[in-house]
């Protein structure tokens, strides 16, 4: 029986990883400056920051995997007792997998889809311990899969990555990193592609691995995940470390203004707007839709008023996108009724002038705009559809760009020259150009940084106020719900499991699924009707989220 557990931390005094003065330079200047990091065996240290902060580059540098063309230097780079500062490629190869290992995002693309799980897990052993073969190798694979709590390891080892569910896949990926017993594990956004409930369990696994004596470096943009798993946190911004300390302390009382902005960008109070009376602008009753055998939406009812936002939240496969498309009128429900402005509403009736009253901002900013057209032309086309005469279109385009916070010069650019946030603003502008009464947005800000997200949501709220828009907002992010929505609909497997005002649902969730979601998002519910704001109270070490 081969030894599964690595030697206890106390026996390896210089295990773990120590970095001092790490510097990565690119062609246009330094990308990472003066980063210090120390992770002892048994510790989990998180590196947080927005995209472009240099977290992933730092992670790659720890494995000697910085992209070609970048120069990496450090005053101290000590990996499990080995001085890695001047290692050539063969030297790095000896370290990788054996002393330090990497877990990336999304096992579906991070594991070789053409190889069985068992072969992937066995590979580090084959590379670094070639004497382990045959039965001994199979036993090692089985033991490693058991270590990551993968049920039925013998069966799973013979399967391919696409045959496993997201959570099991990620565990298999972690197993393939641990197979050769590395002392250091670098996890780069390991749970970002997972559903929240699954994410929580994988995070607990990472915590357990750290407790077993591995030094874990956890890179993430997700502060709730970080708080669940990390002992200490290192905050990076623009290539530098701006703050470091114990996780709870830093997140509860950040000192650096950037860190404070980071924490504030993901912790919002729910909206508190006055309710609207009168008949709803859109009313849906008993909507259902199936695709072949798969039931996407099952008996969903909702109501939307002018000037108010309804958020629809759910995990992947919950039916929220199908519901949104039915509301817009591009998909016809199999059963149920839709009424818009007190008249029946469906794909056939959504034509001509009526078509313009309900608009959609799609999920993917990269596909939503015609890549061959300039921004100005795309928006002019929308105005043409709204009946604006040719002469006035240019001025209207400039005005609309201003309304979504883009400079008038953007009219001459093509989508390939825009960032994700800019494209999304253009998509929103296009939807608004035809002056709709109801705006449906399908995950419009998910692919964006937290600060960009906040700005766009801010602008959406203002546009809503100016135009008295009704909004249906599909999202998976509960913090976005808090920023933008008055009411929320929680969906699971095509059904509505809970609905109501955001404040009520967040403080008193009744359905277990809602409770699970809130817990995974790190939102502490308080009976009594108020939601706890971390800045008001001191942290309590005994609480669990």
């Amino acid at each position: 029986m081969s030894d599964v557990r690595p030697p206890a931390a106390a026996e390896r005094p210089d295990g773990g990883i120590r970095v001092s003065g790490l510097r990565i330079d690119g062609q246009s200047g330094p990308l990472v400056r003066g980063v210090d990091l120390e992770v002892r065996p048994g510790e989990c240290v998180a590196i947080v920051g927005e995209s472009g902060a240099g977290k992933s580059l730092t992670a790659r540098a720890l494995l000697g995997l910085t992209p070609r063309g970048l120069s990496t230097r450090a005053d101290v780079l000590d990996i499990d007792g080995v001085d890695a500062r001047d290692l050539g490629e063969p030297g790095w190869r000896r370290l990788r997998g054996a002393r330090i290992a990497l877990v990336s995002q999304d096992a579906l693309v991070s594991l070789d889809p053409l190889r069985r799980v068992g072969a992937e897990v066995a590979e580090p052993v084959r590379i670094h311990e070639p004497s382990v073969r045959g039965t001994a190798l199979r036993e090692r694979v089985r033991a490693t899969l058991t270590r990551v709590a993968l049920p039925e390891p013998e069966v799973r080892a013979r399967q391919y990555p696409h045959e496993l569910s997201g959570g099991l896949r990620q565990r298999a990926l972690i197993a393939s990193a641990l197979a050769a017993h590395p002392a250091v594990l670098v996890a780069d956004e390991p749970t970002t592609a997972l559903d929240a409930t699954v994410q929580a369990r994988v995070l607990d696994l990472l915590r357990r691995i750290a407790d077993e004596g591995v030094a874990v470096v956890f890179i993430s943009h997700d502060l709730a995940a970080v708080s669940r798993v990390a002992d200490r946190v290192v905050v990076m911004h623009d290539g530098r470390v701006i703050e470091t300390g114990d996780t709870a302390a830093v997140l509860a009382a950040p000192r650096d203004p950037q860190t404070r902005a980071l924490v504030a960008a993901v912790s919002h109070e729910p909206l508190d707007r006055t309710a609207r009376s009168g008949p709803p602008l859109l009313a849906a009753s008993g909507l259902s839709k199936s695709f072949g055998e798969r039931v996407a939406v099952d008996d969903v009812s909702l109501a939307l008023h002018r000037g108010r936002t309804l958020a629809v939240v759910g995990e992947s496969g919950s039916g929220k996108t199908t519901l949104a498309r039915m509301v817009v009128g591009v998909t016809s429900p199999d059963a149920g009724t839709l009424r818009f402005d007190d008249a029946p509403w469906d794909a056939a009736r959504a034509a001509g002038a009526a078509r313009r009253r309900v608009q959609l901002v799609q999920q993917n900013p990269w596909g939503a705009l015609d890549p061959r057209w300039t921004v100005g032309r795309t928006l002019a086309e929308a105005f043409a559809s709204a009946g604006v005469p040719r002469a006035g279109r240019r001025a209207r385009v400039a005005g609309l760009l201003d309304e979504v916070g883009l400079d008038a010069g953007f009219a001459g650019r093509r989508p390939a020259q825009l960032s994700g946030g800019q494209r999304q603003r253009v998509a929103i502008a296009r939807a608004l150009a035809v002056a709709p009464d109801l705006l449906v947005l399908d995950e419009p800000v998910s692919a964006l940084d937290a600060s960009v997200r906040a700005r766009i949501l801010d602008r959406l709220r203002r546009l809503q106020a100016d135009r008295d828009l009704a909004m249906l907002f599909v999202t998976h992010d509960l913090d976005v719900v808090a920023q933008i929505a008055d009411d929320v609909l929680v969906m699971q497997d095509g059904r509505v499991v809970e609905s109501g005002a955001v404040r009520c649902v967040f403080t008193e969730p009744r359905h277990p699924f809602t409770q699970e979601l809130l817990a995974a998002a790190g939102i502490a519910a308080h009976p009594g009707g108020t939601v706890e704001d971390p800045r008001d109270t001191a942290a309590h070490p005994g609480d669990t989220a």
Binding site: R94, V109, E123, A177
Partner: protein
């Protein structure tokens, strides 16, 4: 895991589907050939005899009825299909021999040539992909492959013949008996196929290297050789395999040209003679032979690809699936 009974039934259904496709394609090709010959202007008997022939109308009528060309169209079609089912492709107008025999006699030589060329092409392509790893090497190889693909295969054959046979005398000029005589023709035929295959494989390897899973492989401490052999080549070969039918077709078409250049016996000679003599049964036979090759190769590819790429195992095989057009 599917239960044994279910998988056996699925296997039978699949085999049945494949057989049905084979029959359909062959019938389709045969019908197309039949129709094509009947709609082209000109009386086949006159074309056969040539413009100079001084033959009386009665003799022509006799030949026509001999060949069954005076009976109603549908009857001819029925007879044609009936013959096909029995494996009888009719008789060559010119040689008065069964078409099957005419083609069959020359088939061996062509198969030898294409087989050797395929082997050489595989070796060259793999060498190019595995050995050309640096950026400059890749650019140079890509340039060479572009030139090779742009050169007419009959010209490269002539150049090779000129240099290696005439000037240097390393290889015999012609002669089917001498084993060394197959080297130059095989290499000539292999070059464009190797170039195309190398291009497709290299594109596949480069695409695979950009995939995230390769970062994971590198992070395990794998050497570049391990990366290629155990990971990227497998991904690239799926792309290469879907081109197999096209590559085999390339070999067949090229064989006609190469056999002409090097004066080798084979299907090329048969086809060319048949074309200039307007020997319709032989031409039909060649068309059907090409269709058969196409079907066989595609079936093999359809069976092998799911073995390589497990993600495709659920999807039903489509005989018409083809990778992006190579260019």
């Amino acid at each position: 895991m599917p239960r044994p009974r279910g998988s056996a039934r699925r296997l039978l259904a699949r085999l049945g589907g494949i057989a049905a496709s084979v029959v359909l394609v062959l019938c389709g090709a045969a019908t197309l050939a039949f129709i094509a010959f009947r709609i082209i202007p000109g009386d086949p008997v006159e074309v056969m005899l040539g413009p100079q022939a001084q033959v009386s109308d009665a003799v022509k009528a006799g030949i026509r009825s001999d060949l069954g060309l005076d009976r109603p169209l549908l009857e001819q079609y029925g007879a044609f299909l009936g013959q096909l089912v029995r494996g009888d492709l009719g008789e060559s107008y010119q040689l008065r021999l069964p078409v099957v025999e005419v083609i069959g006699r020359q088939l061996g030589s062509t198969l030898q040539l294409t087989g050797a060329a395929l082997a050489v092409a595989l070796v060259l392509a793999l060498a190019s992909v595995l050995l050309g790893r640096g950026r400059t090497a890749r650019t140079v190889l890509a340039g060479i492959e572009l030139v090779v693909l742009s050169s007419p295969v009959f010209w490269t054959g002539l150049v090779l013949l000129s240099v290696f046979s005439f000037q240097l005398g390393w290889f015999p000029v012609s002669g089917a008996r001498d084993p060394a005589a197959i080297v130059l023709p095989a290499v000539t035929l292999a070059l464009p196929v190797a170039a195309l295959l190398a291009q497709v494989l290299r594109d596949g390897v480069e695409a695979a290297e950009r995939e995230p899973f390769l970062t994971t492989v590198r992070a395990r401490g794998a050497t570049p050789l391990r990366e290629s052999v155990h990971h990227t080549l497998r991904h690239a070969s799926v792309g290469g395999l879907t081109l197999a039918a096209y590559l085999v077709g390339s070999l067949l078409g090229g064989a006609v040209l190469v056999e002409t250049v090097f004066a080798r016996p084979g299907i090329g000679r048969v086809t060319l003679a048949a074309i200039s003599d307007r020997d319709l049964p032989v031409i039909t036979g060649v068309i059907l032979f090409s269709a058969l090759v196409f079907v066989v190769v595609n079936t093999v590819v359809d069976l092998v690809v799911p073995v390589l790429d497990p993600r495709l195992r659920r999807a039903p095989s489509a005989i018409g699936r083809r990778a992006a057009v190579p260019a």
